[in-house]
Amino acid sequence: MPILKNIAAIAKGMSITFMEMFQPTEVENYPDGPGPLKGAKFQERFRGVHVLQRDENGLEKCVACFLCAANCPSNCIYIEAAENTAENRVSGAERYAKVYNIDYNRCIFCGYCVEACPTDAITHGHGFELATFNASNLVYRKEQMLAPMPAHMGANAVFNQAEVNQGAPAVPVQGV
């Protein structure tokens, strides 16, 4: 009975069509959507602009080991290392990155730097609106990529003292 078989197959296919027909419409209304992302939605794994993380003490995780730079296929990471001193402690280990630049003219968002990082200092954030009229704006400095201090560390110029007294959570804030 080939006809019956065909009808069954069509019915099966169409059932999915009809099922989907009544689901709510999902259209990304970027860039006119609500919220800071303007309607854009990401998978967690999306590789956007890098974020340089801090540890639980608010110190930079990056120890300037240069492994990300060594691993970078497009050679877009530039680092200058310096030694932490008692007076000026920037990272948790002996060394920190005095200069940490990523040249987004060249970055291909491959994530090798994240893979290479032994201290989980560099991660991909969800920042994506990188377009600019001036290419030199695309060289991001450390300050642009660094995760902000958690509020209770007192890094922000304005913060809510009541929240501090409560003990605000030290959740690293997503960059960009």
């Binding site: 080991c65 030694e83 280990a93």
Partner: protein, 774 residues
């Protein structure tokens, strides 16, 4: 030469091989390309057998044997590559990593760490270790030496190289078992020669250098093989260079490929004192005196002014009113060019430099005779050494290293004649102390003049002297090394002693990186390059000062020298003289100059330099500071500004093909490879008037001793130049020689501007290091 050693046959991993009897299994394996890993084994140091990495299975032995302590034997059957050995190595790395902090990302050794390499090659992928790691805080032992105990694997290389190699014995071991710790000789700090050999030899990042630590990573640097800019020993060094705001910055000095005359040796200066290049006082712009003040100007303005003024003086008062003072820190090419410039462009024979050894006297004795100058390599292999004057430990660290290790490893006999109880006497077979200034008497006696002793010694000790002389006369292949105490007639006496002994050779010790080169290149008023007499003799340095005082010297051109400070000259005497100074810093001489031109140093240019033994080596451009120019370029441009056809000065532009890469050196190394190719094809690289190789062609044609293998030289090897084919030399007033009296931690102007040297000097206990070492 000794007889060829007996060979024994053995089998390693089924491979039949032969090795000299008495050699170690680990070396025999290495020679045929079988790798036996080890941490504690280091060639030429005593055996430890402590790291147990080199375990191999030797047939008929109950246990695994350490290849580093096993001597090869006839018919030995060895396995280095079976499962048992692999497991032993793996376990050894596992054990070692137990307490080892895995801070490779911040560790200085990361990337060139032997433990990392071993772990990759032989270790386990996973760690079984679950216990807390032992920790000790990092210690700073000296301005340049830091120690991180947790990283230490206790291979004792540092202890051995410090004791056996350097004869300093500043390191030892405290406690036992897992608490064992390498400890410095003065509880919490080092009192030593700060040579940094311990840091260099450390297979891991336990010992780190104050100059380099946490600055960069090994693979981030360019490594440029060049020659050290400090003393006259001419150590080959590899400079680690990285990008910096102001060009290229040197961050590390070592001799990582262990090649050259110094193998892995470098002293404090070679290892750390490159930082003068980035000193904040470094001049980067030409300065011209305007209204009595030195004001920054442009290069063009400066050259124009210098050219105009020098031309004026030459036209008005003749060349004899112009003086030129050369440098002991510039390349042979620059020195040659400078004397050519003085004689051809300025038409003046008034050229001199800071003399620290009497090479013209040596040339005078040797000229046309048998060649008997020794190279630095000879010092390491000679069966006996006679050292008259000087204190190599302080002034010639490499020479002292060669002597010490020759004595230690080859059993050489060392005889010392000195007015001071110098430290090398600890290695000496005989040490004879003489009154200060009696070196001539000693030399004359040894050369055969019995009466020479009368003035300096009581008759009682004559027998010892006679015995010493007899012993020396009967020592074949003796190497005689003498300091600047031996001048004039004494040089003749010593050389006569040497020529009376079969195979004996001599070394005259000068004080600066290219003192010998300055001398060979004819920075003398009466000598041309190659010690040929000049037609008309000019003024020596002190005479120039006198003429300046009496107003007869109208212009003075100083290249990389500081005569005001060195000869304690009154700055007022140059009031009527037009003074041009090329230097890195505003030295005493530069402050009175009318024009100061910022110069590049030896690490920032290419050329050749000759060490005190006459070994010529190449220097390559490593670092770069924006602004200064090489002395070579400046001399050519001044000649140009004077209206002189620079083609007559630098023979360029005549070759069929040309080298454009000369100034690129550091980054690519291309220039040198290209030059090698040109040489191999019988072509000469000459396009640029600033190309030192064009002048080197001329040097090789005109200075007899310098006809050495160009290919070998450009490949970074040392080539011994000869004095005996040179001109007749000259007898100079011995008083013209002014020893530098630098010690381990000072180095003339360079040292003054080195933070590393200064910090060590500040830290140093006033007591001499030798007391501590005893």
């Amino acid at each position: 030469m000794a007889d060829a050693p007996k060979l024994v046959n053995l089998t390693v991993d089924g491979k039949k091989l032969t090795a000299p009897a008495g050699s170690l299994l680990i070396d025999a394996c290495k020679n045929v390309g079988i790798e036996v890993p080890s941490f504690c084994y280091y060639p030429n140091l005593s055996l430890q057998g402590a790291c147990r990495m080199c375990l191999v299975r030797v047939e008929k032995m109950p246990k695994l044997q350490t290849a580093c302590t096993t001597v090869v034997a006839e018919g030995m059957v060895v396995a280095t590559d079976n499962e048992e050995i692999k497991q032993a190595r793996k376990a050894m790395v596992e054990l070692l990593l137990g307490n080892h902090p895995l801070d490779c990302p911040v560790c200085d050794a990361g990337g060139e760490c032997e433990l990392q390499d071993m772990t990759f090659s032989y270790g386990a992928a996973e760690s079984k270790y679950m216990e807390p790691k032992n920790h000790k805080d990092e210690q700073q032992w000296s301005p340049v030496v830091f120690f991180d105990r947790p990283r230490c694997i206790l291979c004792y290389r540092c202890v051995r190289v410090c004791g056996e190699g350097m004869d300093v014995w500043a390191l030892g071991v405290q406690n036992r078992g897992v608490s064992s710790i390498i400890a410095p000789n003065k509880e919490d700090h080092l009192e030593c020669e700060e040579c940094g050999m311990c840091i260099d030899i450390c297979p891991v990042g336990a010992l780190t250098s104050g100059a380099y630590r946490y600055k960069t990573r090994p693979w981030e640097m360019n490594h440029v093989g060049t020659t050290c800019a400090h003393c006259a020993d001419g150590c080959k060094t590899t400079l680690g260079v990285r990008r910096a705001d102001e060009g290229m910055e040197i961050v590390r000095g070592d001799n990582r490929d262990k090649s050259g005359i110094n193998n892995d040796f470098l002293c404090m200066k070679g290892r750390y004192a490159f930082d003068f290049a980035n000193h904040e006082d470094r001049l980067t712009q030409p300065l011209i005196r305007k209204n009595g003040k030195l004001t920054p100007s442009t290069w063009e303005e400066a050259f124009e002014l210098v050219g105009k003024k020098l031309n004026e003086v030459r036209m008005r008062d003749g060349g004899s009113a112009i003086g030129v003072i050369g440098s002991t820190h510039t390349t042979n090419e620059e020195n040659y060019l400078l004397q050519k410039f003085a004689r051809a462009v300025l038409e003046s024979n008034n050229i001199d430099h800071h003399r620290t050894a009497d090479f013209p006297a040596l040339a005078a004795v040797l000229s046309g005779k048998q060649e008997i100058t020794a190279s630095m390599r000879d010092v390491y292999n000679a069966p006996a050494i006679l050292l008259i004057g000087n204190d190599p430990t302080e002034q010639h660290p490499l020479l002292a290293w060669q002597i010490r290790n020759n004595v230690r490893l080859h059993g050489a006999k060392l005889h010392i004649i000195n007015s001071e109880p110098i430290k090398l006497r600890r290695q000496a077979t005989s040490f004879t102390q003489i009154p200060v200034g009696a070196e001539l008497n000693a030399a004359s006696f040894l050369a055969g003049d019995d009466s020479a002793l009368n003035a300096i010694t009581a008759s009682a000790s004559r027998e010892n002297w006679a015995a010493l002389r007899n012993q020396l006369r009967n020592t074949e292949n003796l190497v005689i090394i003498f300091g600047s105490e031996i001048r004039g007639a004494a040089v003749t006496a010593v050389t006569h002693l040497a020529s009376s002994i079969s195979g004996a050779k001599v070394i005259a010790l000068a004080d600066y990186a290219n003192s010998r080169g300055a001398s060979d290149m004819g920075l003398y008023p009466d000598l041309l390059p190659g010690y040929h007499p000049a037609a008309k003799s000019g003024l020596t340095l002190p005479q120039m000062a006198e003429n300046a005082k009496s107003g007869k010297l109208k212009a003075l051109y100083v290249v990389g020298s500081n005569p005001l400070a060195r000869f304690h000259l009154d700055s007022q005497i140059f009031a009527g003289t037009f003074v041009v100074v090329q230097d890195m810093f505003l030295t005493e001489t530069a402050t009175i100059a009318d024009v100061v031109l910022p110069a590049a140093n030896l690490y920032e240019k290419t050329g050749t330099i000759t060490n005190t033994c006459g070994d010529v080596q190449i220097v390559k451009k490593a670092s770069e500071v924006n602004g200064p120019k090489s002395d070579f370029e400046m001399i050519v441009r001044i000649a140009d500004a004077m209206g002189y056809d620079v083609r007559n000065l630098v023979p360029f532009g005549r070759g069929e093909t040309a080298d454009m890469g000369q100034s690129r050196g550091a980054q690519s190394g291309e220039a040198d490879r290209h030059a090698v190719w040109l040489q191999a094809n019988n072509l000469e690289p000459k396009l640029s008037p600033f190309d030192p190789m064009a002048i080197f062609d001329e040097i090789q044609r005109l200075v007899p001793g310098y006809r050495v293998s160009r290919l070998n030289l450009l490949s970074g090897n040392d080539e011994h130049t000869q004095l005996s084919q040179s001109g007749p030399g000259a007898k100079h007033d011995p008083a013209l020689i002014v020893p530098a009296h630098d010690n381990l931690f000072s180095s003339g102007t360079l040292g003054r501007y080195s933070r590393a040297l200064n910090s060590v000097m500040e830290n140093r206990n006033p007591q001499p290091a030798e007391v501590a070492a005893d």
